[in-house]
Amino acid sequence: MDQPKALPTNYVTQPDKIATSKGKTVRTEEMIINMGPQHPSTHGVLRLEIIVDGEIIVDAIPHIGYLHRCFEKHAEHMTNYQQVIPYADRMDYVASMNNDWAFALAIERMMKIEVPERVEYIRVIMAELQRIASHLVALGTYGIDAGAFTPFLYCFRDREEILDLFEMTCGARLLYNYIWVGGVSHDLPQGFIEQAKEFCTYFKPKIKEFNDLLTYNEIFIKRTAHVGVLPRDVAINYACSGPMLRGSGVHWDLRRDDPYSVYHKFEWEVQTGKGEVGTVGDCWDRHIVRVREMEQSVKIIEQALASIPEGNVQSAIPKRIRPEPGDIYVRTETPRGELGFYVISDGSGSFYRVKARGPAFVNLSVLPEISRGAMIADLTLIVGSVDIVLGEVDR
């Protein structure tokens, strides 16, 4: 493929091309700024080494690993496959349910376990609630990056309702250990369905409120349109996924394109960025994709709640899980994109090897590409629009 073209941002300056009257070039001295790991807007312990010319970024190099916890090695040393689930929880701690599901699905596919219909519905409801909760964190902190503090607390107010639902289901509010191999740990508690329905009715107008407050704010659009443009081809070349990829106008959602569970039974649409206020693939597009995905998730949850069947919540699985020797790659769509587990089994009771393909880690790799030529103020918005969770980047 050809080199990606220069970014069509509206203010990119190329310092080495500013001609003086004598025809020579003026070049100001570049400065290296160390941004993070303790910095208000690197969303965790990301460290960015940025080279700036005045306020314009010449290069940005992410340094990661401050939160490395040896997930893969640790998982291989567990004596039991089930024991890894609490650990998978802690990868992307903003979207634990989705991690659990991806992990459980990998083992189930290896063991060829069929889970009951009710479990599939519960998992869809939980995963989509988690998707909303995760997007609320992403959008709220994005407001802070742009300088608007208030939307953040509005998002957390709504996220609280979802956490209450999770808490009544499994007692935990952040790291659930709820989705197990072969099913879920408990059935839905009494009153869950009613409360979840109430939440859906409550939440829909809140999306509009959020849009009025932040998304369609004139200053916010000015800040995010044409900024951090990720062209379609670059997004695909860097293997971006999730809202990052869809923001660039690529129709790709694993829930539809590599179907798992019961998503095919529901009416919903894949949302993509269309460049409504700027260029396709700019920060605003990624933002609006997340907002619209929340609407779609509410739609899915409502349909699932209306048609959830009765039945068992745990299928009959052997007490000790011993998959046949072999390997498998299973991928699911988490709020941040494609989370895949590549698992190799040697027939024993624990992994021979497990490799997690995290969406935030892969999406982060495109950061230098899209932040060159932007300003320091844009960099925080670009990092925010990638929506990284360092727990999953570093694992």
Binding site: Y11, M31, I33, H39, P40, S41, E55, G143, I144, D145, A146, G147, A148, F149, T150, L153, Y154, R157, L213, L214, N217, I219, F220, K222, R223, M375, I376, A377, D378, L379, T380
Partner: protein, 343 residues
């Protein structure tokens, strides 16, 4: 006698300013909490009234850290410049009409200068030195960027601020602030107070926006923009020196509100108050209260804006200042002058 009166006025105004800063911080925190569905500080004292006092005590007890390679004299000087400028600007603002006390007429204004507006512009433009020097002397890249931003921002907004005021000066025909206020006590069409907000709406809006930029408040708080520059110019300040910057910011807010009230909202003028038939002394007190009330309303607006809007980007801020506000204020001055010439 004159010295006694003058020093009393200084003491009263300074005390009032310092006290109101303490409560302004609390009001801002409680109001932002109200906006954001929170409760806000309510533990220290009744309704959290003593929260700011506790904060000040905490700041006093903090260690004063100066970075190893900082320029220490300038690092110390910068907060002093900021606070001095913030305190002195208020000197020319008339906070009430003349008051009769013990047989002498006292003007409720610390210094009755005949170039009041020029004094304000001159002093406020000194404020930029505080921020720029703080940014430069800290020997920190974030501080440096904050300091650079503040110098560029404040200089460009000073221009539109000055040009916005020209409309007001043309209407009043003087630079004296007390006369400008007196002119606004008249009535248009017999019922509408002749406040400059009605006569000079364009100047009012541009001046108000420039006031936001001058006081470094959102959406123009680029010099300290937390998500980008950590703390901007005050990243390397701790304890009391940070406290002075903090104090200066809120004092600047009060002063800016006072200038807005004086120039555009009729100063101490309470419409139709002279029909109440109050004694001279009571009327004067009422006018001072009116002035304070108007300042509070403007301050609440400042706060509400801060907790609603996102922040501009540096280049957008500059282009707004130079490409929108400056031509607008110039045109306003021109149109005002032409109209005055014609009639």
């Amino acid at each position: 006698m004159d010295i006694l009166i003058a020093s009393t006025k200084i003491a009263v105004v300074l005390a009032a300013m310092l006290t109101s800063v303490v409560f302004l911080v609390l009001v801002e925190r409680r109001m932002s909490a109200f906006i954001q569905n929170r409760i806000g500080p309510n533990r220290v004292g009744p309704y959290g009234l003593l929260q700011s006092v506790a904060d000040v005590v905490k700041l006093l007890m903090k260690e004063d850290i100066v970075p190893a390679k900082a320029n220490k004299p300038l690092h110390d000087l910068a907060p002093i410049i900021s606070i001095a400028v913030a305190m002195t600007t208020f000197a020319v603002i008339p906070f009430g009409n003349a008051i009769e006390l013990f047989g002498t007429t006292i003007k409720l204004q610390i210094a009755d200068v005949n170039i009041g507006i020029l004094y304000i512009l001159a002093i406020t433009s000194l404020g930029v030195y505080g921020l720029t020097l703080a940014g430069w002397s800290s020997n920190n890249k974030y501080s440096l960027l904050g300091g650079l931003r503040s110098s560029a921002q404040m200089i460009s907004y000073e221009l539109s601020m000055g040009l916005a005021i020209i409309g007001v000066i043309l209407m009043a025909g003087t630079l004296r602030l007390d006369v400008i206020v007196e002119k606004q006590t008249e009535y248009l069409l017999g019922w509408l107070p002749a406040w400059n907000i009605f006569l000079q709406p364009v100047a009012f809006i541009t001046f108000f926006i420039a006031a936001f930029a001058e006081t470094n408040r959102l959406p123009f708080d680029l010099p300290e923009a937390e998500p980008e520059l950590v703390g901007g110019f005050h990243t390397e300040y701790t304890g009391l020196k940070f406290g002075l910057f903090f104090l200066a910011e809120y004092m600047n807010m009060i002063t800016a509100s006072a200038i807005v009230v004086t120039l555009f909202l009729g100063g101490w003028h309470l419409p139709y108050a002279d029909m109440l038939g109050l004694s001279g002394f009571a009327l004067s007190i009422l006018q001072v209260l009116t002035f304070c009330g108007k300042i509070v309303l403007v301050l609440l607006f400042f706060i509400a804006i801060r907790w609603t809007l996102p922040r501009f980007r540096y280049d957008q801020l500059m282009s707004l200042g130079w490409k929108v506000m400056l031509p607008l204020t110039l045109a306003n001055a021109l149109v005002t002058a032409l109209i005055l010439l014609a009639f």
